[in-house]
């Protein structure tokens, strides 16, 4: 399916939950989905016969600045060989988004990484812990307003 058809399909199925779309003039067409409906949309896209997005290629956190964070989902179907991108935008003050780890197991560690780096809380994730940084690290390093702490457990951090 091409991006426009996918967008129309999602719009008719989910209506209000599809917030914004950019299909033309970009490398990867995307739609923005309400953060509290993303797991429903993901499950629909995986299971529906017309879409069959059985694989999540990449899940990334992005700091959009101006007080917003985003989670970007790059989907791909190995059966139908088409691609699509979903985005969920959340305020940095209260970043909560539904977890898709139950839809694609691949999201498990990537959501942990997004939590680790951006502090995005994934509701329904089975095991949301830091993954790359130490468990007792303070702050979320990839946020644009991140300040490197002076000390970590008595060790000087900036070199």
């Amino acid at each position: 399916m091409i991006a426009q058809e996918l967008h129309d399909l999602l719009k008719t199925t989910f209506g209000e939950a599809i917030l914004e779309a950019k299909i033309d003039g970009v490398f990867d067409p995307f739609v923005t989905v309400a953060p509290d409906r993303i797991a429903d949309v993901a499950r629909f896209l995986r299971d529906d016969d017309r879409t069959q997005f059985d694989s999540l290629m990449c899940l990334s956190g992005v700091d959009l600045t101006k007080g917003n964070l985003a989670v970007v989902y790059h989907l791909h179907s190995t059966k139908r060989n088409h691609k699509f991108v979903l985005k969920a935008v959340v305020p940095a003050a209260n970043p909560r988004v539904q977890s898709v780890a139950s839809v694609w197991r691949m999201a498990d560690w990537n959501e942990r990484e997004a939590y680790d780096m951006y502090g995005i809380i994934f509701d329904g994730h089975p095991d949301l812990r830091r993954i790359l940084m130490p468990d007792d690290w303070e702050g979320f390093p990839l946020r644009k307003d991140y300040q490197v702490p002076e000390f970590y457990n008595g060790m000087k951090v900036p070199y």
Binding site: M57, S60, M106, R129
Partner: protein
């Protein structure tokens, strides 16, 4: 899920451990494997929850080699400076990492690179596949107790490294592929050397098969161990030999061609369950052996067609992509390496996210290890072929 002191009575073990998601049962014991363990190929710590000799669950702990690749990228003053850092992710196949990044950037900047550059890049990328698989196979034998094949693999790898060294001066971390071109053209003797290597290398694969692949002890240790079914592998996002070992015919060089891979004829080897079930350790191992043969085929075809040209003619003076974002993935020896690059229109990257294949393949480890023996964990981990530099970035 934090263990606090109140959970632990004096003389008793903790009732829960983070990551397990349930209390420990009375008959279960937790064994820590790593971070310093010869079979983890770097600093990886596995917590094994075992019931006697049977592994009930595995909890991987990573991040010991984390060096903020993505944070560094955001602080670069231009896009070219990312390339040496990309080298250091999967440091045994650095060419493939560069390749993915430059392909993504060229697509973003809409640069058409000269034919000669494309051909040399493909040769180098396939060389890096061969040297990466040689290390994977050699160390895998080492893990399982076969020492000799490791030395044979290292000997053959040396021939490739010599060719690469003569081309760009480095043996491990190259900074060879630049956005729009290459740092050096190849030497005049390059074609002859590469052809000689191909002739030399083919019989060595047969030698390796006789020595290791069809060795009875090796098969006993790997066949029917760590079976990963194809649909589970797709759901875990597994890629590369791990996915193909599970019988899924999926290779980006064929299924989503980039660069000039559509011009070469080669096969995609998949696991067939010849010695056990489809998707066991032996299948994943054997896919790598067959891939080395196929890479040799590609190199031979590419070097025969190598056109003339200037390898630096398309390098842009100033790199300033328009605001926008792109996701490009390429097939590295370990699997699909994806770069998600966001530009805000300035000269330095706004956000670069890497989808490292090793990181995602490793996340399927618990699914493969449940129900196996402790000694099998070593065999399963080796068959995934992780490089911790890429897992932790």
């Amino acid at each position: 899920m934090e263990v606090t002191l109140t959970d632990v009575e004096p003389g008793r073990r903790p009732a829960t451990i983070p990551g397990l998601g349930r209390p420990l049962r009375a008959e279960e014991m937790v064994i820590s494997m790593g971070p310093q363990h010869p079979s983890t190929h770097g600093v990886l710590r596995l917590e094994l929850v075992v019931d006697g000799e049977i592994v009930v669950d595995v909890i991987p702990h990573i991040g010991y080699l984390h060096r903020c690749f993505e944070k560094h990228c955001e602080h670069m003053s231009n896009y070219q400076q990312v390339i040496p850092y990309a080298d250091r992710m999967d440091y045994v196949a650095a060419m493939s990492n560069e390749f993915g990044y430059v392909v993504a950037m060229e697509k973003m900047l809409k640069i058409q690179v000269p034919e000669r550059v494309e051909y040399i890049r493909v040769i180098m990328a396939e060389f890096s596949r061969i040297i990466s698989h040689l290390i994977a196979i050699g160390t895998y034998g080492l893990d399982i107790g076969a020492f000799t094949p490791f030395l044979y693999c290292m000997r053959d790898r040396e021939h490739v490294l010599d060719i690469i060294e003569e081309t760009c001066g480095a043996r491990l971390l190259y900074n060879y592929m630049w956005i729009g071109g290459l740092s050096h053209d190849v030497k005049p003797s390059f074609q002859k050397q590469v052809s000689e290597f191909c002739t030399y290398f083919r019989p060595k694969i047969k030698e390796l098969n006789d020595l290791l692949s069809y060795n009875k002890i090796f098969i006993e240790r790997t066949a029917n161990v760590g079976v990963l079914p194809g649909d589970v592998a797709i759901n875990y996002g597994a890629s590369g030999p791990v996915l193909r070992g599970s019988g899924v015919k999926w290779d980006l060089r064929k299924n989503d061609p980039y660069s000039i891979y559509d011009r070469f004829s080669f096969d995609i080897p998949v696991g067939q369950g010849l010695k056990g079930k489809v998707g066991d350790c032996w299948d994943r191992y054997m896919v790598r052996v067959h891939e080395m043969e196929q890479s040799t085929n590609i190199i031979e075809q590419a070097v025969a067609q190598l056109p003339e040209g200037d390898v630096q003619s398309a390098i842009p003076k100033r790199i300033r992509p328009e605001a926008g974002e792109i996701y490009v993935r390429t097939e590295t020896p370990k699997g699909d390496l994806g770069y998600y690059i966001v530009s805000d229109g300035t000269a330095s990257p706004f956000r670069i996210k890497v989808r490292p294949p090793c990181f995602i393949n490793l996340s399927a480890l618990p699914a493969m290890c449940r129900g196996a023996m402790i000694a099998d964990v070593v065999a399963i981990l080796g068959s995934i072929d992780i490089v911790l530099g890429e897992v932790d970035r």
